[in-house]
């Protein structure tokens, strides 16, 4: 049981990171990462919707007929996104303005629909909530990291605090977002690949021994 949750956590946040590994939810990733703080805000909103929708989909998984599962999931996700919008507009209007159009767009965020379809509709309540939480953490981490790099290089700031006057305007543009995203995907694949190789090397050293006899 403990191992199950460990696997859910590692898969969601690192091994199958929705942003850097599965390349899902690219629209807010590219558009909102001009600042690190935007990444955190968006990440928290997506994590909340992921957890709630996963929980409800998991509870209703035996009631929803498979023929209408996708429309049913979209309805559930849209409900939670609307709730997030209403709550933000009431309590944190500035944050609502910053996220603007990208907040309602969470409804069509592939990460949420993918987790509802591939995990929550097949698993019980607690693992589904955990899956939502860790995928959300992975998404938040990715957006914040990208936002931090673009904010530092594009504006010479981090979390709104000026570091230096040197800026590269390119990183503030859409092309800069694509470039940064590509670099992160490449780096992430490289690191994950290296870790996997190291693990295999430790478990089966004979595979890497060039002098070993071929049987």
């Amino acid at each position: 049981m403990k191992n199950d949750y460990k696997k859910i956590a590692l898969d969601g946040a690192i091994r199958n990171n929705p942003t850097f590994k599965l390349v899902l939810g690219t629209c807010p990733t590219l558009a909102l990462t001009t600042a690190a703080m935007n990444g955190i805000y968006m990440g928290i909103a997506v994590t909340f919707v992921l957890m709630c929708s996963n929980a409800l989909v998991s509870i209703l998984r035996r009631i929803i007929p498979k023929e209408v599962r996708i429309p049913a999931f979209v309805l559930i996700i849209a409900t939670f996104v609307t709730i997030v919008r209403l709550v933000l507009d009431y309590f944190l209007p500035d944050l609502n303005d910053i996220m603007g159009l990208y907040l309602p767009l969470i409804v069509v965020n592939c990460i949420i629909l993918a987790r509802a379809e591939s995990f929550a509709s097949k698993n019980s309540l607690l693992p589904s909530i955990a899956d939502g939480l860790f995928n959300g953490i992975g998404f938040t981490f990715a957006l914040t990291l990208m936002g931090a790099v673009r904010e530092i290089l594009g504006r010479g700031e981090i979390f709104g605090t000026r570091l230096w006057n040197f800026t590269i305007d390119f990183f503030g543009t859409s092309a800069g977002a694509f470039f940064t995203y590509a670099v992160f995907i490449a780096l992430f694949s490289l690191i994950i690949g290296m870790v996997k190789d190291k693990k295999i090397k430790a478990e089966k050293p004979e595979l890497f021994d060039l002098n070993a006899e071929v049987k």
Partner: protein, 202 residues
């Protein structure tokens, strides 16, 4: 009858209808509980500008319906939708304090930038004393307009207008890489200058 209810499509429609009814009801209740009235929105903007709640007299307040929007003060490159005379307090060192919500056109992709602009009048001289962003449409590089950009508007109002075009005469205020958004912001401020010059003669 039993056969009808065991039909898969009846089941599908029933489940979808049930989800719609429950979520619709929940959203309706929350919308009612978390409703923010136009007055509250104005109060929030005032708090953001003055740091405290203020009482005010409404001169112009265009909000909501399309019919209502026609009454805004329209200029060539923007419009003023709200004007509030802020009630004077005993310790205030200004004669008048007026708050405008002005929208400038000609932004990126023909979008707009809406600003709250505070004008303080003292000894017959009108001065722009604070400019903050209210909202924008279609502007993707608004993050580039920082405190330096908004701070450059804080000058005494004369017959001179702001310009984001480096070649033009006037007070230049532009941001490299976001010139279109900067232009829309400048147009919003110029609407207010236009109004103040017309009403108070600068």
């Amino acid at each position: 009858m039993r056969k009808f209810f065991s039909n898969v499509w009846v089941k599908c429609i029933s489940v979808l209808l049930a989800i719609i009814l429950v979520s619709g009801g929940l959203i309706a209740i929350l919308s009612d509980l978390l409703y923010v009235s136009p007055e509250e929105r104005t109060g929030r903007a005032l708090k953001k500008i003055y740091g405290e709640e203020k009482t005010y007299q409404t001169v112009l307040d265009v909000d909501g319906t399309d019919e209502d929007k026609k009454t805004a003060l329209n200029y060539d490159k923007g419009k003023i939708e709200k004007i509030f005379f802020i009630d004077k307090e005993n310790d205030s060192d200004t004669e008048y304090d007026i708050l405008f919500r002005s929208t400038g056109n000609e932004g990126y992709k023909f979008g707009t930038v809406t600003l709250w602009i505070r004008v303080s009048v003292k000894d017959g001289v009108s001065k722009i004393s604070k400019v903050i962003l209210d909202s924008y449409a279609k502007q993707t590089l608004m993050g580039k307009l920082g405190s330096e950009y908004y701070g450059a508007f804080l000058v005494d109002i004369t017959d001179e207008y702001f310009t984001a075009d480096k070649e033009s005469d006037g007070i230049k205020n532009t941001v490299s890489g976001a010139t279109k958004s900067a232009t829309a912001g400048v147009n919003a401020v110029n609407c207010v200058i236009n109004y103040v010059n017309g009403s108070f003669g600068g």
